[in-house]
């Protein structure tokens, strides 16, 4: 359809010189290479928008629209009951934002989320990096086999993961505590003890996501020229020194990417507590995203939107901070 449009448009096109030989190799048909916008043809403009339009329609209705609606909602007192009678909704200014500042439960959820990120991101990154380095340097066979195995938890439904993990962590008959009992340790009731519930979820998340970082880091490691390692080895560097002074600095952009993506994901952690603990015991695994969902469930739509926007700001802030941190060290 877009090409039909483009062809129709061509004869009536603007009076720009050279328009008629739009297909000539000298024309700047392809962007980015040649400077200046003079070479833009009408044909490309129509085709560009024609190809963009279907996506942009979906984007406007189901993505950008809701983002704006969420912002607008957060300054009203919209509740689920108001859906039948939209006129009952009043603007309340920043009331929702004031309210969330004094919300004890939200503060708890924010602290849990912060812990989840602060413990989970480094743990996942270290495990992923260790696996990537081992696969890259240490072995020559079975690489695909290991890679597939390590990636398996990443592609598995959280519900299925929850089923088996809840079972593994059962206080009495679970495999983890059975193994600990062999060693003479009396394992706790992992998911129903306020001290161990959140750490259990952190470990589970690291278990689930390290395969993703392994693949990302592995690609980064393989992009490092082997000559650098050889040169360092000739200069007498041991394996650790090479890792510390060659691998890590060159891997910085990849580490940054991995850290940002994992951090953004963990800031929004929701599914793990939803399927494993329901946020308990005593809100010890309640996350911000889970709290938003709860408020949605209570029908407090505008309040949920306000908290969601605070979470949004946190995600943007984390991304910016991590970029700055990594850049300043180079």
């Amino acid at each position: 359809m877009a090409s039909a449009l483009a062809r129709q448009a061509a004869p009536t096109g603007g009076a720009r010189p050279g328009r008629r030989d739009a297909g000539w190799p000298g024309r700047r048909g392809v962007t980015g290479r040649r400077p200046g916008r003079r070479g833009v043809t009408r044909r490309q403009r129509v085709a560009g928008w024609g190809l963009a339009l279907p996506f942009l329609l979906i984007f406007a209705v189901f993505m950008a629209g809701p983002v704006l609606a969420s912002a607008a909602m957060s300054f009203t007192d919209l509740r689920s009951a108001d859906l039948r009678d939209p006129l009952a909704v009043d603007p309340v200014g920043v009331d929702n934002y004031v309210r969330l500042l004094g919300d004890e439960t939200l503060r708890r959820a924010a602290a849990n989320t912060a812990w989840f990120v602060l413990l989970g991101v480094p743990l996942t990154m270290v495990l992923g990096l260790a696996a990537a380095v081992a696969l890259d340097a240490g072995i020559s066979r079975f690489r695909t086999f290991f890679r597939v195995g390590y990636y398996l938890p990443v592609v598995t439904s959280i519900v299925a993961v929850a089923v088996v993990w809840r079972f593994l962590l059962e206080p009495d008959s679970g495999l983890v505590n059975t193994a600990l009992a062999r060693l003479g340790v009396d394992g706790p009731a992992w998911l129903s003890d306020t001290r161990t519930a959140l750490p259990s979820l952190v470990v589970m998340a690291a278990w689930r996501n390290m395969g993703f970082l392994m693949v990302v880091f592995l690609a980064g490691l393989q992009a490092i020229p082997g000559e650098l390692h050889e040169a360092a080895a000739i200069d007498g560097c041991g394996a650790w020194a090479r890792f510390r002074h060659v691998t890590l600095p060159l891997l910085r952009p990849t580490l940054l990417f991995g850290g940002v993506v994992t951090g953004i994901g963990y800031l929004q952690f929701f599914e793990e507590p939803f399927v494993m603990t329901g946020g308990g015991p005593l809100d010890s695994t309640l996350s911000v995203a889970f709290y938003i969902y709860q408020q949605f469930g209570f029908g407090n739509y505008s309040y949920a939107a306000a908290i969601a926007y605070v979470l949004f700001v946190a995600v943007v802030g984390l991304t910016a901070a991590q970029f700055r941190l990594m850049r300043s060290k180079t």
Partner: protein, 277 residues
């Protein structure tokens, strides 16, 4: 690539460490598989048994007799399939336009797409649900599919890949008088095989595993997807039927596992290309 330093012959202890990691990462799935063929009484025994003493397929049989498993499975296939096709079509179209066509607003569109990558799902969740219920699409396939037909990530991935294709090919096609859509369909798309494969797998998997949205939108049993059915069963009063839960989990994982193992090369390549740029 010269690899004399890095790729020495495998050291035994590295294999040992990696194998240990593999046990931790894959072990739970093996445990699940073993549990799915044990009767409930044996699953709950303390201390647990490793291999099933009397393997049984009863748990799988119950998936069909007590639950409407084939219907959940078909719903999952239908939703994930439609979402995947939509993403392949719409994301590659915009990806090509952003990578190779000059049109006003291109930069703004790309910035919007990138910005959307940072928006937490919870920000759009509530208005999206309101929208879908206003449109009367709650508990419909359209409600399950429409909001996910295109993704900013997909556009990013396709744009990155297409940017790397040689401009000369497109120029040559223009010289030959091909229209822009024809160039897209006949020249660019056939070269996008690896990127389309990656996007297709990633989209299919994330849609298959998607949990929150179908949980909220699918309200009657004949719209449940597999994870929703499993979750409601696991959280509900039947949560002590471990064997059934294990069998259900295996059923959720196996299709994904087959797709993943068959196509894992594309997977790894795709994650690597998006990760490095």
């Amino acid at each position: 690539m010269p690899t004399t330093v890095r790729r020495r012959r495998g050291q035994p202890w590295v294999y040992g460490v990696l194998a240990g990691g593999l046990v931790v990462l894959v072990g739970p799935f093996v445990w699940m598989l073993l549990g799915s063929v044990k009767p409930d009484a044996e699953i709950r025994r303390t201390p647990p048994t490793w291999l099933p003493e009397a393997p049984t397929l009863d748990n799988y049989r119950h998936l069909f007799t007590e639950l409407d498993f084939p219907a959940f499975f078909l719903n999952s296939v239908l939703v994930a399939g439609a979402v995947t096709v939509g993403n392949l079509v719409f994301c590659s179209m915009l990806g090509y336009a952003l990578a190779k066509l000059e049109f006003p607003g291109r930069r703004v569109v790309f910035a919007l797409v990138l910005g959307m990558l940072m928006v937490p799902g919870m920000v759009t969740f509530v208005p999206l649900f309101m929208l879908v219920s206003r449109l009367g699409l709650v508990d419909s396939y359209a409600g399950l599919i429409l909001p996910w037909l295109a993704s900013p990530f997909g556009v990013f991935l396709m744009r990155q890949f297409i940017t790397g294709l040689p401009d000369d090919l497109i120029q040559a096609a223009r010289v030959d008088g091909a229209g822009e859509l024809r160039i897209f369909a006949r020249v660019v798309l056939p070269l996008c095989g690896p990127a389309l494969a990656t996007l297709g797998i990633l989209t299919f998997l994330s849609s298959w595993n998607n949990f929150l949205w179908p949980l909220v939108v699918a309200q009657s049993e004949d719209r449940y997807t597999l994870p929703v059915a499993l979750a409601l069963y696991a959280i509900g009063e039947n949560n002590t039927r471990y064997g059934l839960l294990m069998a259900g989990s295996v059923a959720v994982i196996v299709p994904v596992l087959l797709v993943f193992v068959a196509l894992q090369r594309h997977f790894v390549r795709g994650i690597a290309t998006t990760g490095l740029k």
